[in-house]
Amino acid sequence: MKTEVNDFDRHMAAATFAEAGEFETATEFIQEGKDGVKREKTPAPATRKKPYAGMVIFGAVSLSGYAALMTHQDWVSETFTTGGWHAAYPVVTAIVFSFIHGAFASNLLSVLGIEAKK
């Protein structure tokens, strides 16, 4: 469905440019669909918006998780080491924490401007 809409957009854009006499641009739009090459829709902005919100939200959730852990450490240590099916406690907790804290770390690095080479 998405591709049809895109195709429709592309053809409309081509028609607009063709009407305005910009034949080259119009053919470029048509070509793009034929060989499946995607063109950048809009020129990339000079600086991408930094994920401050993500960093703050995930950071807050992660931090409160750590605070809860440290304030309830006796109970946590006791329950999590009972063994048997309780093994699920530490394993699941580790996974959940990695998603939340991992997302925070990822956003933090983006905010600091440290990103992978394109």
């Binding site: 450490q73 009972t82 394993v91 990822s106 440290i114």
Partner: protein
């Protein structure tokens, strides 16, 4: 994302087929968890209550134990000395240490650098985390268990990031991991055989010798290769051994898309087996898995180190379940290391996009060689334990222990430094290139 789901599905399919595929061997069986209710100084006995048990039992203090070693009303781990008789205590460890600020900061810092190394070369961190935790006072079994439980989510995040950068070969990772799991079983069998025949000291000596041989030979070769490449060698050239291996045309042939390798399953299987055997022996399978994938299978260092993270995830997940069943994971330690290592692993992963292939080999080789020194410093002590040489002078023994520990710290610190410098250089170069590009296009 869809492929990531395949990995997780694959893991769950593999898991039921194995019984104890965890690096470093299975959890110890002769350990009891519980609390001491009282101590009798004269009779040298203590009343002990096991976790989940209402009944109490009388334990006898070992010959070199003092009644003051028994901490009453605190959760402890007791290991028994089977050779000294029934219910004789060998050692007592407090299960849960109080978290002091110093301990918390140490865990965060070690986690961060360990994660950086892991994201960059695919393994690492674990070999220094366990001894580091033990030096903070964590009992050995708890250190191994908590470390394992931090390793697999970290490897998962690292593998996902590097998969997104197009570096991880999922199929190769799954094939290697499934064969490595079998290798772990073989490794444990050998360990048990040695333990039964030569005792604890013999087992320690065996582990250290294997560690030294593998690390010095493989590390030395990787260093030589990295040196050659840094002098202007062809980064994309694959090793002669791998070229020869790829010519072996015995079905089933496998094609690995990301690694761009077509190779017989009969070549990948032994590499996986050795990775697993080493993982069971020295707890760091990556030190053979990554060079194996580079020099025998013929993947690039970037792909090999990324793929190693998938293997670490699968093996670590299973190991954690096993140690969790014995109730030995201290989740506080796990999560504190994770706090630093999840940042480190992503930093290390994105660092690989800025550096040349040989840089990964260089970091790997230098880490392996310094870790070899650490392990080598322990060999004289083990030889003395086996009466193969005269007992060590206490001063010398102390120095060797210090050398061993600080070599590990140096390995971690130097690797962290090389990665950071290489990454910053790469980023500055990329920025300068981008600037140039702008000037040219606008000019």
């Amino acid at each position: 994302m869809k492929k990531l789901l395949y990995i997780i599905l694959g893991v769950f399919l593999i898991l039921p087929m194995v019984t104890s595929a965890n690096a470093g061997g299975p959890p110890p069986k002769d350990i009891m968890k519980g609390t001491f209710l009282n101590v009798d100084d004269r009779a040298r006995t203590a009343t002990f209550q096991k976790v989940g048990n209402k009944e109490t039992m009388q334990l006898i203090l070992g010959t070199d134990m003092k009644p003051s070693d028994v901490r009453v009303n605190k959760k402890v781990m007791v290991s028994l000395d089977k050779h000294a008789g029934e219910n004789v205590i060998k050692s007592i460890d407090i299960m849960f240490l109080d978290m002091t600020i110093k301990r918390i900061i140490s865990l965060l810092v070690i986690g961060l650098i360990g994660g950086l190394l892991s994201g960059f070369i695919g393994s690492g961190g674990a070999f220094v985390l366990t001894p580091a935790m033990m030096s903070l006072g964590v009992p050995g079994a708890i250190a191994v268990a908590s470390n394992m439980c931090h390793k697999f989510p970290k490897a998962m995040v690292g593998a996902y990031k590097r998969y997104k950068y197009g570096q991880a070969d999922i199929k190769l990772g799954l094939v290697m991991a499934s064969t490595a799991i079998i290798g772990v079983q073989i490794g444990i069998k050998i360990q048990k055989y040695i333990l039964n025949h030569f005792g604890n000291a013999g087992s320690n000596l065996y582990v250290s010798v294997i560690f030294m041989i593998v690390l010095v030979f493989v590390g030395g070769y990787v260093l030589y290769d990295a040196y050659k490449l840094s002098k202007g060698g062809d980064d994309t050239k694959i090793s002669r051994l791998a070229v020869r291996m790829q010519k072996i045309n015995i079905p089933p042939m496998m094609y690995f898309k990301v690694a761009k390798v077509r190779i017989s399953a009969w070549v990948t299987i032994p590499v996986g087996l050795f990775t697993g055997m080493l993982a069971a022996t020295i707890a760091v399978g990556g030190f053979i898995g990554v060079p194996g994938m580079i020099y025998v299978v013929g993947a690039s260092a970037v792909v090999a180190s990324a793929t190693e993270l998938i293997i670490a995830f699968i093996m670590g997940a299973w190991g954690s379940v096993q140690w969790g069943l014995s109730g030995l994971i201290d989740i506080r330690l796990t999560l504190l290391i994770l706090a630093g290592s999840l940042i480190g692993v992503q930093l290390g992963a994105l660092g690989t996009t800025y550096v040349k292939d040989y840089m990964i080999k260089l970091v790997m080789a230098s880490t392996m060689l310094i870790v070899a020194v650490s392990r080598g410093a322990k060999i004289p002590g083990y030889l003395a334990d086996l009466n193969l040489r005269p007992a060590l002078d206490p001063q010398l023994a102390h120095t060797l222990t210090q050398v061993s520990y600080w070599a590990l710290v140096t390995a971690l610190a130097s690797a962290g430094l090389i990665i950071t410098v290489a990454m910053v250089k790469g980023m500055m170069q990329a920025k300068a290139e981008a600037q140039m590009g702008k000037i040219v296009s606008h000019g």
